[in-house]
Amino acid sequence: MAYTAEISRTNPSCFLFVIDQSGSMADPFGGEAGKRKADGVADALNRLLQNLVIKCAKTEGVRDYYSIGVIGYGARVGSAFLGALAGQELVPISQVAANPARIEERAKKVDDGAGGLVEQKVKFPVWLEPVAHQGTPMVQAMTLAANMLQGFVAAHPNCFPPIVIHITDGESTDGDPTDAMQNVTRIASSDGNVLLFNVHLSSNANAPIAYPNRADNLPDQYARLLFETASELTPFMLGIAQEQGYNPEPGARGFVFNGDLALVVQSLDIGTRPSNLR
């Protein structure tokens, strides 16, 4: 059965983030004044990386269950890691954990145990800064993604299939990206094809849509293209999506419109996760 390979240090899997850093990402996000799409992407990606690292953390260190890559595309196409990881393509997650470009302190409201909220300082590691320059070479970015993943799958032929998370506002400037995306999802390990999640960040203030199974209600042609090219959720992911209250229909795809991607990390299976740990 596909998508059942164990994720372990001897048989790691891979996460590849493909991030739109084009000029249009400086536009406001979801109609929110003051927040640019590029800020939303950098925040979302830093949070996803943080959650992935935490998921692999034990007290003796971070276990290398994954290799991680971040491709940025805009003025240039290539690794978007900063700091000590700058220029690197796929790196073991323990290296990601050890090398954020910087660690911010952010305020978080937490329950004070007496019905109120109290502000607490939390650490927020940053690997990626908001960038918004020039065109949207999506085809070139997906071609690089396919090259990197071919290398990974050749080295780990029985791995849980790599997961690609592509975050964009959807307007490719170097041609129709459909073929390049299909070339990505055509890559397979013995456990199944690469899974592509497309996250569409729009300036359009439409309500968020997560994991639809049809394109009818999507607001524009960019959203429809990103829906069509996204992978179907695996049965395990469908189960988790159900538990999280998304009510996905059969055939639901890894497509999110103006929404967040918490499900992707929640649905990774590296062992027992207590139901009372949220």
């Binding site: 048989n11 996760r273 009372n276």
Partner: protein, 255 residues
């Protein structure tokens, strides 16, 4: 008390021995006329200090379950012991100049998680009674006359999943705990066998039994550490069993 007993364990394939996060207590002595207490626990992969927490739970069950008035009394004392244990751990880290890293903070704050199953054998004039208490998916199976007589708290192989409710060292995560405790008891007659297992082996055991096989005979055929390890390697290779830490306590009452 003529009680034949042994315990076997193996870490998840690919993990080092010191990454084993189950724990168990199986006393060497079984005194006539006295209760016999053993326990097994399974620390969650996705929590920090799981092994230490599983060890505290089993040790506390063996030491204090019978003396406590009810599970609440035992639980409060166990959380107190854990606080000391965690403080000592943090002090050791500080002394070793290994400060807590940013990626450990959320896990340490969320707490450690583990499943627990404790078992008490109570002598009665002509036999033994077993009483068990559990939270989570560790499992006890009783076999009599070559038939599965009882399974507790999981009744069948379908009941296992990757998201069990577990005992947390963080009281805020144990909201519904009162509803999660499971209790059972039964007679332990001469010749009966009890197998207490962590989830991966228990799921295999129940699945095999449901398919009409006699998994107890297969388990009994691998009684020493090497044979047990080789057998598990075979089950894992054919994916008959999930790759996870495995612990088995086997008890047989000889009358």
């Amino acid at each position: 008390m003529n009680l034949e007993r042994y315990a076997l364990w193996q870490p998840k394939a690919g993990n080092a021995l010191d990454e084993y996060e189950d724990a168990f207590v199986l006393p060497r002595r079984a005194r006539n006329g006295k209760p016999f207490v053993c326990a097994i626990a399974d620390g969650a992969t996705e929590s920090l200090l799981s092994r230490q927490w599983a060890q505290v739970l089993t040790r506390q069950f063996a030491r204090q379950w019978l003396a406590a008035r009810d599970w609440r009394g035992w639980w409060n004392e166990t959380l107190r012991v854990w606080q000391n244990e965690k403080r000592a751990y943090m002090e050791r880290r500080a002394r070793a100049d290994k400060p807590v890293q940013w990626y450990e903070e959320p896990g340490l704050e969320a707490g450690a998680f583990a499943a627990l199953l404790g078992l008490v054998l109570m002598p009665t004039p002509h036999a033994l009674t077993w009483r068990a208490a559990a939270v989570g998916d560790c499992c006890l199976v009783q076999v009599r006359d070559d038939k599965l007589l009882a399974a507790f708290p999981m009744q069948d192989a379908h009941a296992f999943n990757n998201r069990p409710y577990l005992l947390s060292s963080n009281p805020a995560r144990n909201d519904a705990l009162a509803e999660q405790w499971r209790f059972a008891e039964g007679n332990f007659a001469a010749g009966d066998r009890i197998y207490v297992m962590t989830d991966a082996l228990a799921a295999w055991f129940l699945r095999a039994s449901e398919a009409g096989a006699r998994p107890w005979d297969e388990a009994d055929a691998h009684r020493n550490a090497d044979a047990f390890a080789a057998w598990l390697a075979e089950l894992r290779a054919t994916r008959a069993i999930r790759n996870d830490d495995v612990t088995l306590i086997r008890l047989q009452y000889r009358g």
